[in-house]
Amino acid sequence: MLLNFVAEQLVRDYFIFVYLLCLSALQLAAARSGLRGLAIVPAPWGVAAGLLFALTDVVWFVSSADRNTIGLAGWEQFLLFLMGSAAALLTSLAISSLLWRPGSGPTDPVQDGVEALRYMSYWEALASRRTH
């Protein structure tokens, strides 16, 4: 059986580990690429916060339990990774939209794709998609 998720605690820990790691990676990427609509942490601290958060997450995952046991199969890891990364992306976009202050940066409504997140929050981008 490929998907049996035998180790319940490991499943939970791995999901949290991936979720937090992806959230950190998103903050790093948002800070490096100027995607303000993806950032939870303001740009000047994005890289430092992302690195610190990722490091803390790794230390927690490695030290909180013995990870060298039979646990998750490759497909199980893949599925959990997909879910964790999707959850991190949703969290980042949602919190960033809530924290967004209109008019706090440059505006360029003609952008499409993730480029739009340089100039507007994800919520605003979705709303502009409906009106155009």
Binding site: I70, F81, G113
Partner: protein, 193 residues
């Protein structure tokens, strides 16, 4: 060849249990989750890097190609596991076993396959990060020998297989056009690419 492999194995695995800090480091890195997750997260972050649409699209195609490459090299590993069910070192000789006993065949080493396939993918996105990724993949692969669950030839063939899969990935992405372009277009419509 077999005896060279065993000699190399004994050399590396013979170091286990001698230095507590080296054992701890190997045990922290050898688990099935940490290194693959770190490498995959580097790719995930890479999806959103880039300062122009053109650069970002190149990176995103690189991520798609790496996913295809990992899938290809994993499929090849599965087939080789079936064709050459090589027993693990702890089944055939005395070893310093610091890890649990995996139940799948030893050849080729699946962690080496995944590690090197992902590392080449990261390297195609960013050379500096990629160098770090290769270092992680190498330590991950060698630690499998150190803890006594794989022969050096298992991880070497695994590394080659992973690199091959990741190198073929971009071609497969090109062959499957217009699917990747449509997928990226769909992601762009939702402001995700």
């Amino acid at each position: 060849m077999e005896s060279l492999d065993r000699t190399l194995f004994s050399l590396i695995n013979g170091l286990a249990g001698r230095s507590p800090w080296l054992d701890r480091l190997a045990l922290a890195l050898v688990n099935d989750y940490l290194v693959p997750a770190l490498l995959a997260v580097a790719l995930f972050g890479g999806w959103f890097l880039g300062h122009s649409r053109l650069e970002r699209e190149r990176l995103q195609r690189g991520v798609l190609a790496t996913i295809v490459g990992v899938f290809l090299s994993n499929s090849a590993t599965f087939l080789l596991n079936l064709l050459f069910p090589r027993p693990r070192p702890f089944h055939v000789q005395d070893v310093n076993l610091l890890f649990y006993q995996p139940t799948d065949p030893s050849f080729p080493s699946n962690p080496a396959v995944v590690g090197f396939a992902l590392a080449l993918g990261v390297w195609s996105l960013n050379r500096r990060l990629g160098t770090l990724a290769f270092a992680l993949a190498t330590v991950f692969a060698v630690s499998r020998v150190y803890v006594g669950v794989a022969y050096p030839s298992d991880v070497m063939v695994g590394a080659i297989l992973g690199l091959l899969g990741s190198a073929i990935g971009p071609r497969v992405v090109r062959w499957t056009e217009p699917l990747p372009t449509r997928f990226l277009g769909w992601c762009r419509r939702w402001y995700l690419a």
